[in-house]
Amino acid sequence: MNVRLERLDRATVVIPEGRLDFDAAADFQKQLEGLFSSATPTPPGAVIIDCGSLEYVSSAGLRVFLLGARAAQKAGVAFAVCSLKPAVREVFDLSGFSRVLAVHPDRATALGQGPGRT
């Protein structure tokens, strides 16, 4: 899985591309943790995971979202997810993650509403 980062003024947008399965989960976890690490000179005000290019997620992938959200909370950084494709959305809904995480329909909404919930 490829992961792109876009650093905006007040937020860092993380864009995972492809399949977030067991094989990809460990690397993705490291990348997310890096954003909240005390070694990061300027921590972002918000982290948004833009899932517009994410085709697949398993429970191993969900786990990384959960750990990321917890790390964000600890660091005082807003954490949101946006642009879920139907297959990924289904996994988020069935697992109850849509209720635990801030999930927005698109990136503009996620940037505008910050940590709000849908």
């Binding site: 399965d21 067991f22 094989d23 697949y56 398993s58 429970s59 191993a60 969900l62 786990r63 959960l66 750990l67 959200a69 917890r70 909370q73 297959a87 289904e90 996994v91 069935l94 697992s95 109850g96 209720r99 635990v100 995480l101």
Partner: protein, 139 residues
């Protein structure tokens, strides 16, 4: 009617091999690509369950996956392993209402499989664990 079968060691490296096996079956059976996702997820969750919980010191079990169906509108996926007796359906349902802090990070995989499949059943057959999953494809 089409049936395909493969057997791999319960090693995480084999996940990609199994996923290709599923894709090949799906293409050969001319099934709708969008309908594959529940099987992709179930295969990963059940296989990784055996990888994580089915191994004993010094011994890696094998996992055999059989895919069956197409013509009748439903697909049956059977996963067998020769690891220690373990019924994944005996795992408790995770607490979906727990908040961010208290939510357990594990236990979701089998739950998702049960939600996505029409029927899931476990059988202990001699020295084998067998999990059988059936889903009727839309359309």
């Amino acid at each position: 009617m089409m049936e395909r079968r493969t057997r791999v060691p319960a090693d995480p490296k084999q996940l990609a091999v199994l996923n290709l096996f599923l894709q090949d079956f799906w293409t050969a059976a001319a099934l709708a690509p969008a309908a594959m996702q529940p099987f992709e997820l179930a295969l990963e969750e059940i296989f990784m369950n055996v990888v994580m919980h089915g191994s004993e010191p010094g011994r890696t079990p094998w996992v055999e996956v059989t895919l069956d169906g197409g013509a009748a509108g439903s697909v049956t996926m059977t996963v067998e392993d020769d690891g220690p007796q373990f019924d994944p359906l005996s795992l408790p349902t995770p607490d979906l209402s727990a908040g961010l802090d208290r939510r357990p990070v594990g236990g979701l995989g089998v739950f998702l499989v049960r939600q996505m499949m029409d029927a899931v059943s476990y059988q202990r057959i001699g020295t084998l664990n067998q999990l059988r999953m059936v889903k009727t494809l839309a359309g």
